[in-house]
């Protein structure tokens, strides 16, 4: 027996109440982690962006296009090592096997030099250069569409009319977890030469540059934008991180609100736990009087109650973390990555979020036990001994 025996045995005195409270903490930890995971996953692409890559888009809006010859001008800017471009295709699967995936028309000669965290074999690249309607897909998308190299595939677009037929010439694999594995890449010249794109002929969506020195990223970006200052279409060049954040920037307020919600949930469960501990302390007031009478100092009685509260919170926390592993990391996460990889390339609760949840559980245990513990430790012994429950 030691000083932890008493508080740990107390957990089982009102089994039903303890179990219900542990479940409440467990669910709060699950929701807390789910919200945090959502936020982390949303920002993952930005957080994991390459420091030596910058993106250039139309100064007014990403939806406005730039003249194609800008890429040649950009490549002349000192500090730019390599550059490529892409157009947004708003691709859709006519068979609706996947709700969303990104379709880009890209420069087949330079795309993989810049976006080198998408891995393809030299044979696939060679085949792409020889096939005008060749497409390279992410491995996850190829699996969803059940496509192999050599397969024919038809996709549609929200921008361009009709059906678009492609031949799969390659499948890329990601070298980083945050690389979208559901992108459909095809040749920009194929798009540009199609009569259906007459209004955007010789125009590109955005440019991506690999720079020589990431420390001078801001200077190089400035130089690029200065180059087009006097043109009809001015540009805005930002780091890849800022470019990625631009897509989720509109949701910043929602993400902040979610953060607040996760804290409110913790506050609610703190009150639930505080209620449980208060009821227990009230029922055992006489017992605490006995402990004080036989010589336990007020601080020790306080520690017994805090220990009990902490044990309940940690039991709920550990169960919650287990549930997070099971529900988010093994069920929901893979499902989100498969079906929504355009938004969530890597939907996974990181270890630090789990540690944060456990720390939050421990903290709420101590906070919830604080007031009842203070009450019990300050009780007059003779009053406590008179209390009969």
């Amino acid at each position: 027996m030691n000083v932890t025996t008493y508080p740990s045995r107390n957990l089982f005195r009102r089994r039903g109440r303890t179990i219900l409270t542990i479940i409440a903490v467990m669910l709060a930890v699950l929701i807390f982690c789910a919200i945090r995971t959502f936020i982390v996953a949303f920002n993952a692409q930005a957080d994991d962006a390459a420091a030596d890559r910058i993106a250039t888009r139309h100064k007014v809006s990403i939806t406005m296009q730039l003249p194609k010859h800008y890429i040649d001008d950009l490549r002349e800017v000192p500090g730019v090592k390599a550059a490529t471009w892409a157009n947004w295709f708003a691709a859709k699967d006519p068979k609706e096997r996947i709700p969303f995936f990104a379709g880009f028309a890209v420069d087949h000669n330079s795309w993989f030099d810049v976006e080198d965290d998408m891995q393809v074999s030299p044979e696939m690249l060679a085949a792409w250069k020889q096939t005008a309607n060749g497409a390279i897909l992410g491995d996850s998308l190829a699996k969803t569409f059940n496509l192999q190299v050599g397969s024919d595939v038809v996709i549609t677009s929200d921008i361009y009319p009709g059906e678009w037929q492609f031949k799969v010439v390659g499948i890329y694999t990601p070298l980083r977890k945050t690389v979208d594995r559901n992108i459909f890449l095809f040749r920009w010249d194929f798009l540009n030469n199609d009569p259906r794109t007459v209004y955007s002929k010789e125009h590109i969506g955005w440019m991506v540059s690999r720079i020589t020195d990431s420390i001078h990223s801001a200077d190089i970006s400035k130089r690029i934008d200065q180059k087009f200052d006097l043109q009809d279409d001015q540009t805005m060049t930002v780091s890849e991180r800022a470019f990625a954040l631009g897509f989720v920037g509109g949701l910043a307020a929602v993400l902040k609100a979610l953060n607040v919600v996760s804290l409110v949930i913790l506050l609610i469960v703190t009150l639930i736990l505080a209620n449980t501990v208060s009821m227990s302390v009230r029922e055992r007031t006489h017992e605490y009087g006995v402990l004080r009478a036989i010589g336990f100092p007020p601080g020790q009685v306080r520690n017994f109650i805090l220990g009990e509260s902490l044990l309940i919170a940690l039991a709920g926390g550990v169960a919650g973390v287990g549930l997070v592993e099971l529900v988010i990391n093994h069920a929901l996460g893979p499902m989100m990555e498969a079906n929504m990889s355009g938004v969530f390339q890597h939907f996974f609760t990181p270890r630090w979020v789990l540690a944060e949840a456990l720390a939050a559980a421990a903290a709420l245990g101590l906070v919830a036990g604080g007031l009842p513990a203070r009450f019990a430790s300050r009780l007059k012994i003779t009053d406590a001994l008179r209390r009969v429950d």
């Binding site: 027996m1 030691n2 000083v3 025996t5 008493y6 045995r9 107390n10 089982f12 005195r13 006489h286 017992e287 006995v290 402990l291 004080r292 009478a293 036989i294 010589g295 336990f296 100092p297 007020p298 020790q300 007059k380 012994i381 003779t382 001994l385």
Partner: protein, 226 residues
């Protein structure tokens, strides 16, 4: 033969409680000397101040005025923390309703006061076994209070009271919740602790038959010793 030295000396004790703004004088200018090694019973009607006096001797409460010296310590000068430590070393408590912790076994209940000492686990175990052997319950060590009879529970409580070898045992109606046979067993045990282990016992009781077992009987009425 010289008189035994007093282990409890109370002088000029006043204790006043307040019901709202109305003062209730429970003890008035009370003086008491309890010689070391005695077995004393304190009787009196309900509300006469018996338990209040017991609480003052045991260091559970403080007088409104007056001096309380017990086992060489002036209790009115000790802080709450010092008083808690003093109680754990000097006083053994026996309550009317046993007051065992239901989630702990008999042995663990007896061990509780020893958690406040520097004794190692094996040393504590030895003390617990000795205390339970003295009260005749060495074969009930792993039983929980609910698995014991009332008399056995009170004997476990007595083992808890003596396990840290206190100088004084205070007992508040120790037989109040027991049948006659169990009450006799408990009183015999207290008598043995007094005679064989020389513990000073100060017992509050309503029961004249119980008080008969003590060597000194006192009566408290309206806050004054008769």
């Amino acid at each position: 033969m010289s008189e035994p030295e007093s282990i409890v000396t109370l002088s000029g004790i006043n204790k006043t409680f307040f019901r709202g703004k109305e003062p209730i004088h429970v003890l008035e200018n009370l003086a008491l000397d309890v010689p070391g090694g005695s077995f004393e019973a304190l009787m009196g009607p309900s509300g006469s101040g018996k338990s209040t006096l017991l609480n003052l001797i045991a260091g559970l409460d403080r007088p409104t005025s007056g001096s309380v010296r017990v086992a060489g310590a002036d209790l009115t000068k000790l802080s709450d923390g010092q008083l808690a430590k003093w109680r754990s070393q000097t006083i053994g408590f026996v309550f009317q309703s046993f007051n065992l912790i239901p989630v702990l076994t008999a042995a663990q209940n007896v061990e509780l006061p020893l958690l406040l000492t520097q004794l190692s686990g094996p040393e504590r175990k030895k003390h617990v076994e000795t205390a339970l052997r003295i009260v005749g319950l060495e074969d009930r060590m792993d039983h929980y209070p609910r698995q014991l009879s009332g008399g056995q529970e009170q004997r476990v409580a007595i083992a808890r009271a003596i396990v840290n070898d206190p100088k004084i045992i205070v007992a508040d109606e120790p037989t109040g919740d027991l049948d006659r046979k169990s009450a006799d067993d408990v009183l015999t045990l207290l008598d043995r602790l007094n005679k064989e282990l020389h513990k000073t016992i100060f017992m509050v009781t309503h029961d004249p038959a119980c008080a008969e077992r003590a060597s000194v009987r006192r009566r408290l009425d309206k806050g004054a010793l008769q």
